[in-house]
Symmetry: D3
Subunit: 157 residues, 6 copies
Amino acid sequence: MTVAVYPGRFDPVTNGHLDITQRAAAMFERVVVAVYDTRDAVFPIEERVKMFEEAVKDLPNVTVKPFHGLVVAFARQEKANVLVRGIRAFTDFEAEFDMALMNKKMAPELESVYMMASLEHLFVSGRRIREVASMGYDAGDLVPPHVGSALRRKFAR
Amino acid sequence: MTVAVYPGRFDPVTNGHLDITQRAAAMFERVVVAVYDTRDAVFPIEERVKMFEEAVKDLPNVTVKPFHGLVVAFARQEKANVLVRGIRAFTDFEAEFDMALMNKKMAPELESVYMMASLEHLFVSGRRIREVASMGYDAGDLVPPHVGSALRRKFAR
Amino acid sequence: MTVAVYPGRFDPVTNGHLDITQRAAAMFERVVVAVYDTRDAVFPIEERVKMFEEAVKDLPNVTVKPFHGLVVAFARQEKANVLVRGIRAFTDFEAEFDMALMNKKMAPELESVYMMASLEHLFVSGRRIREVASMGYDAGDLVPPHVGSALRRKFAR
Amino acid sequence: MTVAVYPGRFDPVTNGHLDITQRAAAMFERVVVAVYDTRDAVFPIEERVKMFEEAVKDLPNVTVKPFHGLVVAFARQEKANVLVRGIRAFTDFEAEFDMALMNKKMAPELESVYMMASLEHLFVSGRRIREVASMGYDAGDLVPPHVGSALRRKFAR
Amino acid sequence: MTVAVYPGRFDPVTNGHLDITQRAAAMFERVVVAVYDTRDAVFPIEERVKMFEEAVKDLPNVTVKPFHGLVVAFARQEKANVLVRGIRAFTDFEAEFDMALMNKKMAPELESVYMMASLEHLFVSGRRIREVASMGYDAGDLVPPHVGSALRRKFAR
Amino acid sequence: MTVAVYPGRFDPVTNGHLDITQRAAAMFERVVVAVYDTRDAVFPIEERVKMFEEAVKDLPNVTVKPFHGLVVAFARQEKANVLVRGIRAFTDFEAEFDMALMNKKMAPELESVYMMASLEHLFVSGRRIREVASMGYDAGDLVPPHVGSALRRKFAR
C-alpha cells in the first residue's frame, strides 16, 4: 500500500493546497496531510489542522495530523513511503532541490514526488494570502469558504 | 490501478533513467516506459527499446514501448493516469513547467509527477553521454553494462 | 507621442501575442507589430503579417509590418521610442536580459518595456503550438479562429 | 492620459531608482513615485519621501507620495493605469512574477510594466547600499549627492 | 604570490567548506579562511574559528582568522589578491552575482573566483546542518568529527 | 606551478574573453587559451587562434592553441591543473553546473574555477556579436581592433 505524506505549514490552507491533496488522494491509497507545528504562524496549530480537516472531509483516504521536528521522522512513524510536494514556481523548486537531497540522505527509503500547482493556483501561497488579507483584501475566492471567514475574523479591524 | 507512463528519448538509457524507473515501479502498479520514436537519434528506435527492456528485465511491472506523436495520446491509449518525469536540474525544470501546463490543457485527467535524479546521476543525461562517448570517453559506468558495449561499438574508430 | 514596436516571429500569432498587443495599445498611442522575416518559419512572412492584421483589425492604433535585420534599426525607422516584449517565463527572461543590454548599447534612445503574459497564456507559445498542431492536436482555442483554420490546413494529413 | 505608479521602499533612493523614474517619466504622462510606509526602514518615511522629491525636482511630471497597504489600492486612488517596476536581476524577477499575478487578480485594470536596470546600476539596491554604508564604505557615487550626505550622517561613528 | 581569502559564517564548518579550502590550498600559495564575526550565530566566533583551525591543521598554507565589516577591507589588510567563493546551487549563484559586482566596485584589484561544491556536498550547508541537528538528526558524517561532537553537545536535550 | 586552461570557441575573441584571460594571467603562472576546433564556426580555426594570439601578444605567460575532443584530455596533455571558465549570466551557469560535474567525473585532478564577466562585458558573447555583425551593426568597440576589422570584412556586403 502506498501511503503519502503531504507536509506544510498550511497557514492557512489554500485552494492550491486543497488541489494538490485531491490529486494525491486520487493517485495514492492513503494521504496524510502533515501540518507543521511552528510557533510563528498566524493561525495556531489546532486551528490549522481543523481548517484543513474541514476542507478534506469528503476525501475518505485523507487524514490531517500535526507534526513537529523532521518530516522524515514523521513519515517513518506513519509508515509512509512517499512524500508529496507541490511546486508553484522556480523559487519553490530551488528550495525543494536542496531539501530533497538532504531528505534522501536522512531517509533513503522515502520517495519524494513533486506535483505542479494548477494554473489558477500558481500565485496562491499561504504567505501571499496572509499578506494581502492583513492589508484588507478579501482573499475569499483563493481559499475554501470557511478559511475565508477565518481570515476575515483574524484581520478584522 | 495506477498506471504510469515514463516517456523519453532514451538515446541511450542511462543509469539515471533506470533509477527513476525502479523508483516509479516501487510506487505505481504498472509502469510503461515510452520511447519516443524520433528520427534524429543516434540509436534507432528498435535498439533503444531493446536496450531499455534488457535493463528492466527483472522488474515485472515495467514494460517498454515505442511511441510517436503526443505523449498524452499515448498515455490515453495505455489507460495511464500518471505521467512520470525525472528532473535533473534547473534547465530541465523550466522546460517541464511549460510542458506540464500544455499537457494539462490537452489531457486534464492525466496527472504529472516529478522525481528528482539521485545525487550520483545529477549530471548524467543521454545527450552528455553521447557527447563524451563520441569524443572517446568510456562512459561505461554511467550506463547499464550492455549499453556501455553498444556505445563502444557505435563510436569505435 | 509614444510609439511602441512589438517584435516577434509570430509563427503563428497566438492569443498570448494578441493579449500583449491589446494591452500595449491601451497604454501607448501607436503600436507597430513587427513580424520578423525569417526563412525557417512554418508560415511565410506574408501570411504571418496577414494573420496578425486580421487579429487586430479592431484596434485602430495598431499596424502590422514585416521587418528583417536588427530590430533597433526597424524601430528607428518607425520613429518608435519604446520596444514592447512579452515575457512568459524564466527562460524568456534570461534571453531578454542579454538582448536588452545589447539593444541599449546599439540604441540608447530606445526604451524596452516588458509585460508578463496573462495567466491563461503562460504556456502558449508559437513553438509549442506548431509542435502540438503538427502532431494532430487541435490548438484552436489557443489562437484566433482564423489562425486555428490555417493551422488545420497546414497540418492536415 | 497614462498615469504610472512606481512603488518601492526607497530606503534610500539610489541612482538606479532615479534612472527608472527618469525613463518612466519620458514614456508616461504622469509618474507617481509611491514610497512604502514600512516601520523597519533605516530612514523614516518623511525623509525617504523628501530625499526622492529632492532627486526628481527637475522632472515636472513626477510626484512623490507615501503609501501603506496594498499598492493596487493606492494605484486606484491615484487613478493610475500602469504600475512600473524596475528589474535588476533574476531574483527580482522571480518575486515579481508571483506578485504580478496576484496584482492582476486584485486589480485587472492595472497594467504592470517592467524596465531593466541600466548596466551601471545592475548591482545597486537600497539593501546593498545600507549594508555597505553601515560597514563604513562611502557609497556616495551610487546615490544622489544629498542621499550620500544623509548616509554619511546616519552611519557616522 | 597569490593570497586567497575564503570568507563565510562557518556556523559550523562543514565537509563542504573543508573541501573548498583543500582545493583552494592546492591552487593558491596562501589561503586565509575569514570567519565572519556575526552575533546571530549558533556557535560564538571563537569556537567557529577554533573548529575550522582544527579541521585544517594539516594544511600548512591555510590560516583561519575572524573578521567583521566589509570582506574587501579584510582582504586588503591581508594583502590578498583573490576572493574564493564556493557555490552550491543556483540560489547561491544569484546572491554571488550581485555581491561580486559590488565587491568589484569597492575593490577593483581583488579578483573573485568561484568553485563548485563537490557532488557529495551539494546539499550540505551550515544552515541545513543547524536545522536538522536542532531537530535531533545526527549530522555527524556531513561535518568533521570534532564538529559532530560540538553539534551533539549544542543540541543535546 | 599552476597551469590554467581557458577553453572556448572564441568565434571571434571578444573584449570579454580578453578580460578573463588577463585576469587569469594575473592569478596563475601559465594560461593556455584552448580554441575549440569545431566545423560550424564563422571563422576557421587557424584564424580564431591567430586573432586570439594577436590580442594577447603582450601577456608573456599566455599561449593559444587549437584543440578538439574532450577539454579534460587536452588539459591533461598540457599538464594543467586548473580549468578557467568565464560566466556571463544565469544561462551560462546552468550549463556550467552540469559540465563541471561531468568533468570532475572524467578528470578528478582538474580543478574548475569560474570568473564573472566584468560589468561592461556582461552582454558580450561571440554569438551575439556574430548575430549583430551579420545584420550590419559595427561591433567594433566590443572586440579587439583587429577582430573588428575581420568582422567587417567577413560581413561586408
